[in-house]
């Protein structure tokens, strides 16, 4: 590390607030030309917000960015790109229907009097793809028809076509298989050798050690350590930096589990090719079981398979000893299984419908008389539930869209309360829920369990999984690597299992 002089990009005291939440509370770090700078932090530590600030998609409320020593401010992604900063997001943003070359040069097409010089665009695209070690990607293929890995390469080519000097990569390996990750690393090495800097976000320690130069750790929107040597820093130290925050919310007390309680959900040998395999899981009435793991580890897919939304290739799911038909949501729902999906807004809620209709939608036959819905009864029943759950603002006729994240989640929970389901599957139940409302959600989940529901919770927030569950399963790359009572394992041990897969 003898590179001296001013850093390529210096981040100083960046603060970003959203209504009710401070996403970034003071971030400082430097990125040098030619280095791979890894950003590490738990879910909610502020990584995504930071990426958006660096790439010009969000403006910071305080603090400054210095590009080669000069203060810069990005009003939009174009500004950032013109300066030389480009983000390569996980959800790829190429325009399907346009060719690779058209995508690379979109917005700055080489043109004479308005006519694009296609041959030149194609030639320069080929040169860029070659520079990225991918001469195999055809420059005139429809970009929407490329694999995720190749789309990522095209995004990188686009950044380089604008003379990108700093690439921000948000968990690029999440959509890649092992070979593709190796190729990506080769590309990154070649780029950094040419002086390009990369900000690399990943949770996987082995990747950080292999590709990273320095590490910055974020916790609760602040830099807690920066400039750590990626190859030598101890995993235990990193984990200590990432965890150990002040408790902002309380978890409800666990009642001792009734050992005679009947087993409600039994999953045996569940497998889906390329996603997960050999998953066994039993949940008793009144028990909360947590699944911890990284995004992409297969935890959400396991829930979907239990719910029947994803057809498993092997294994069985039983509810109250009755075997469910594979891959059938209606069979699961009839047996009393409920799912609160991760994408609450797109999958779980009818956003423009009234609160009461969202609550009763899974139980409509109960409110039907000769085929006509008794909306008075729907409202009355919903009112009882929203009062009990303290949904605010009250009023069952308002559109769900107008509620905050926490209150939307309560509406979803109310739906399953009304249905009196036997098994409740919760995927990231507190995503987008502000800190204050979390405790209430936890309380509700506990309540549901107390009524004899078997609950399975998936969360990226390790603390949440441990605080909420009676028993914890750790999932890594589609396999359950640990199972045991929640009290007998701590946060750093789980993170260690999740990130390294080895004993600490």
């Amino acid at each position: 590390m003898t590179r001296s002089g001013t850093p390529l990009l210096a981040v100083r005291g960046v603060v970003k607030r959203f209504p009710g939440v401070t996403a970034l509370g003071g971030v400082d770090f430097d990125v040098r030309a030619g280095e791979v700078h890894c950003l590490l932090g738990q879910n909610g530590a502020g990584k995504s917000t930071l990426i958006k600030v660096l790439a010009g998609a969000q403006r910071p409320d305080e603090g400054e960015l210095r590009w080669q020593g000069e203060v810069v401010s990005f009003d939009n992604p174009m500004d950032a790109m013109r300066t030389g900063v480009a983000a390569i997001y996980q959800e790829l943003d190429l325009v399907a229907g346009l060719s690779v070359a058209d995508n690379v040069f979109l917005g700055h097409e080489p043109a004479t009097a308005g006519f694009t010089r296609r041959t030149e665009a194609r030639r320069r695209t080929r040169a860029l793809l070659e520079r990225l070690g991918h001469p195999d990607i055809p420059a005139d293929r429809d970009a929407g028809r490329l694999s995720a890995a190749n789309q990522q390469i095209v995004s990188m080519a686009r950044a380089l076509s604008r003379d990108g000097r700093l690439l921000i990569m948000d968990e690029p390996s999440a959509v890649l298989d092992q070979d593709e990750v190796r190729t990506l690393f080769r590309v990154i090495r070649e780029l950094t050798a040419q002086g390009v800097a990369v900000v690399y976000i990943s949770h996987r320690m082995e990747e950080i050690r292999e590709i990273g130069d320095r590490v910055t750790v974020l916790k609760d929107g602040r830099t807690v350590a920066t400039g750590l040597p990626a190859r030598d820093v101890r995993t235990a130290d990193l984990i200590k930096l990432m965890t150990g925050r002040d408790l902002e919310y309380v978890f409800p007390d666990r009642k001792p589990l009734d050992p005679t309680a009947s087993v409600v959900l039994t999953v045996r040998g569940l497998a889906a090719p390329g996603r997960f395999s050999g998953v066994d899981l039993t949940v008793r009435a009144g028990e909360v079981v947590g699944l911890a793991g990284l995004v992409g580890s297969g935890r959400s897919e396991i829930l979907e398979a239990v719910y029947g939304a994803r057809k498993p290739s092997a294994g069985t799911v039983e509810v109250d000893g009755k075997r469910l038909r594979r891959g059938s949501v209606s069979a699961a729902v009839r047996a009393g299984v409920g799912l609160c999906p991760e994408e609450r807004k797109s999958q779980g809620l009818l956003l423009d419908q009234a609160v009461y209709r969202n609550i009763t939608v899974s139980t409509l036959p109960a409110f039907a008389r000769f085929g006509f819905l008794d909306s008075g009864a729907e409202r009355a029943r919903s009112r009882e539930l929203t009062t009990a759950l303290d949904v605010r603002p009250p009023g069952v006729d308002r559109a769900v869209r107008t509620l905050s994240g926490g209150n939307q989640q309560k509406v979803v929970l109310a739906r399953w309360l009304l249905r009196e389901c036997r098994v409740l599957l919760l995927d990231e139940p507190t995503r987008g829920v502000d800190v204050g409302a979390r405790s209430e959600i936890y309380e509700l989940i506990r309540d549901l369990a107390q009524r004899g529901v078997a609950v399975v919770v998936v969360s990226s927030d390790v603390e949440e999984v441990l605080g909420l569950s009676d028993r914890v399963l750790v999932v890594r790359e589609g396999r359950v690597v640990h199972e045991g009572p929640a009290q007998e394992i701590d946060e750093s041990r789980v993170l260690d299992l999740v990130m390294e897969g080895t004993a600490a």
């Binding site: 998609a57 939009n76 992604p77 174009m78 790109m81 943003d93 190429l94 325009v95 399907a96 229907g97 346009l98 058209d102 979109l106 917005g107 700055h108 097409e109 043109a111 308005g114 006519f115 694009t116 296609r118 070659e130 520079r131 070690g133 001469p135 195999d136 055809p138 293929r141 429809d142 028809r145 686009r158 070649e190 050798a193």
Partner: protein
């Protein structure tokens, strides 16, 4: 450029060839206009066999003329649809522009050229308003242009009745500059003893320009991009708002061209003309391979879609069938074209895996 070039040239050249040959078929199959082309050939062959006049030069002149004004609009609407928007006011706009020209020329005694210019300005202003409203409010263009459609329809009738006391404006023949303007927009030319309307040339010219803009220019690239993903396009600096407003203005401009052709040929215009045509434009564009969701389509395809319209409408007349059958034919044609396009695209998508 470190170690890669050492291995890549030998590795890539054979694979390039392989990719090239399989891509030729691949590319042919995913061309948006392929369904329309097949349909056009089918319709052409069918009526050539079933009727005698269809293939006569007089017959050809008739169905080409029928297709021409529809074709101009279909091509403009196709560009707009590729850009991800609709314009329901396009049909009634062809009447509005004709009415503006006719009223200015016959009632106020303006020179026809001046009246045409004023009418063009009016059309472009309405197009810009459509685009501005859509971009400004973020409302679907379907709704916004439904509003302008109804408003223009009311204006057409209301103003015509106010000015003339009836629902038509006529008397263009005796206006200043009628003959010179008519030469440009409504004359005929003769090939092999048969007269063809000049509107056919306008149609071909307009299609050629639109096609070239779409595939050869930056603006064409932007049309596909804003229709495919407006967000991504904005993020890389494509002027999304300007592109879409220009597309609405293009549609309105095309409606002016068609309105001018009509008023100069027929010398009178009904205030309720053009209503319902907007769907014919969209149908022709969809037969031509445009997706309702934007980001995909072709100008030439839309022109062929209009050709199918013209051939079928006139072919049914030549076959002495009741014209009621035209709608049935249209529905079947639309479904067939969409199904074929869809199946081919699916197949193309499977090829890549």
């Amino acid at each position: 450029m470190t170690s890669a070039p050492a291995t890549s040239p030998s590795a890539t050249s054979p694979s390039d060839e392989r990719v090239g040959s399989s891509r030729l078929l691949d590319r042919l199959v995913v061309r948006p206009e392929i369904g329309a082309l097949l349909g056009a050939l089918l319709v052409f062959a069918f009526f050539s066999v079933v009727t005698e006049q269809f293939l006569s030069t007089g017959g050809v002149a008739t169905w080409l003329d029928d297709a021409s004004t529809l074709g101009i609009m279909a091509v403009a609407v196709a560009l707009l649809m590729i850009g991800g928007e609709f314009d329901l006011s396009a049909g009634v706009m062809t009447a509005s522009t004709a009415l503006v020209t006719a009223i200015l020329a016959t009632r106020l005694g303006w020179n026809v050229w001046l009246a045409l210019f004023a009418s063009l300005v009016f059309a472009l202003a309405v197009g810009a308003l459509n685009g501005w409203l859509v971009m400004r409010t973020g409302l679907p263009s379907f709704i916004v242009t439904l509003g302008t459609f109804l408003a223009l329809q009311g204006l057409n009738l209301g103003i015509t009745r106010l000015v003339t006391g009836s629902v038509q404006v006529s008397g263009m023949r005796s206006t200043d500059g009628y003959s010179s303007a008519g030469l440009l927009f409504a004359s005929t030319f003769t090939i092999g003893g048969t007269s063809f309307y000049v509107s056919i040339l306008w149609w071909i010219l307009f299609t050629a320009i639109a096609g070239a803009v779409l595939v050869r220019t930056r603006f064409g690239n932007w049309i596909f991009a804003v229709g495919g993903s407006a967000l991504s396009s904005r993020a890389v600096g494509v002027p999304v708002v300007r592109t879409k407003i220009l597309l609405f203005m293009t549609t309105a401009g095309a409606a002016w061209l068609v309105g001018s052709i009509n008023i100069l040929r027929f010398t009178s215009v009904q205030a309720n003309q053009g209503i319902g045509l907007e769907f014919q434009f969209i149908i022709a564009a969809v037969i031509g391979g445009c997706l309702l969701t934007g980001g995909f389509g072709s100008a030439v395809g839309a022109a062929i879609g209009a050709l199918i319209f013209g051939m079928a409408r006139q072919g049914i007349v030549y076959a002495n069938w009741n014209s009621d059958w035209f709608q049935l034919f249209l529905g079947v044609m639309l479904l067939a074209a969409v199904l074929v396009n869809n199946a081919l695209r699916r197949r193309a998508e499977r090829v890549r895996r």
